[in-house]
Symmetry: C2
Subunit: 152 residues, 2 copies
C-alpha cells in the first residue's frame, strides 16, 4: 500500500505540474484552466457549484468568471427559473482551448497498451470519484484527524 500511495502522490504532483505548464502555454492563470477543465468534464455549471468544486469562495469565483469572460473563454447565462443564479458555460473559443490541451494528455494515454486503455480509463474514473467524494466529505464534516496539524 505504501508504494501505491507514493505513486498516487506522484501522479497528483505531475498533474499540478502539468496544470502550471499548460496554463502558461495557453496564457491563462492556473485557476482559469482548472475552470475550463471542470467545464469540459462536467458541462455547464452554476457559478456557486463551480466555486465549491474548485475550492473557492463565492467572492473569488466572481472575479474568476470575470476573467474567463474578459478572455472570451466562458460566459455567464441567466438561469431559466431562478433569477439569482448564473450558469457558466464554455464559449466556442473556450472549447477550442480545451481541445488543444487534449493532445497533451492524450499523448500520455497513448503510451498505454491499446487493449488496456479501457481498464485504465475506468481506474482513473474510479479514483477521481472516490478521492473527490472522500475529500468533500471531510470538508463538510469539518473532519481533521491530523493531530500534528499546525496552528493557522
Amino acid at each position: 500500500m505504501g508504494t501505491a500511495v507514493r505513486n498516487l502522490r506522484s501522479l497528483i504532483l505531475a498533474g499540478e505540474y502539468y496544470r502550471q505548464a499548460v496554463s502558461e502555454a495557453i496564457g491563462l492563470g492556473t485557476t482559469e484552466t482548472q475552470a475550463l477543465s471542470y467545464l469540459a468534464v462536467h458541462g455547464e455549471s452554476g457559478q456557486s457549484l463551480l466555486a465549491r468544486d474548485l475550492g473557492l469562495t463565492s467572492s473569488a469565483s466572481t472575479s474568476l468568471v470575470d476573467r474567463l469572460e474578459r478572455q472570451g473563454v466562458a460566459e455567464r447565462v441567466r438561469h431559466p427559473h431562478d433569477r439569482r443564479r448564473l450558469i457558466v458555460r464554455l464559449t466556442d473559443r473556450g472549447r477550442a482551448v480545451v481541445e488543444e490541451s487534449y493532445a497533451w494528455l492524450a499523448s500520455t494515454l497513448e503510451q498505454v497498451e491499446p487493449d488496456e486503455l479501457e481498464h485504465v480509463s475506468a481506474i482513473l474514473a474510479f479514483l477521481a470519484d472516490d478521492l473527490k467524494t472522500r475529500t468533500a466529505g471531510r470538508q463538510a464534516s469539518g473532519w481533521r484527524g491530523l493531530t500534528h496539524a499546525l496552528p493557522v
Copy 2:
C-alpha cells in the same frame, strides 16, 4: 480515447481539490504541502531542483523554504561538497505531517480490489512519470502548439 482523457482530467482536478483540503486541514499553504509531498516521494532534494519540479522560480523557492523552516516541517542543510548549494530535508515533524495525510490517500486506494492494487499502482507510476516527463519536455523546448493561445 476521449473518455480516458476526460477521466484523467477528472483525476487531476480531484488531486487539486484534495491538495486544497489537506492543506487547510494541516494549516499550511498549498505550495507548502506540495513541497512536503515532493520530499516524501523523492527524499531530500536540492533547493533548485525542488523549485524546478514545483514550477517555481528560485526566488519563490527561497520564501517557500523559509516558510517550511519557520513552521518546522523542513530544514536547510549545507551540501557537503558545494558551498553554494542547499539541501532541503523533511524534519521529524514534517514526516509526521506527511504520515497523517497518508491515510487520506490510502483510504481511496483501499477501495481497489486487493489483487489489483499492484497493477493499479504500476499504472499510476507510469502515468505520473510520463506526464511529468512530457510536460518538462514541452517546457524545455518552448513548445507551444496551442494555436488558440491567448495573448499574455
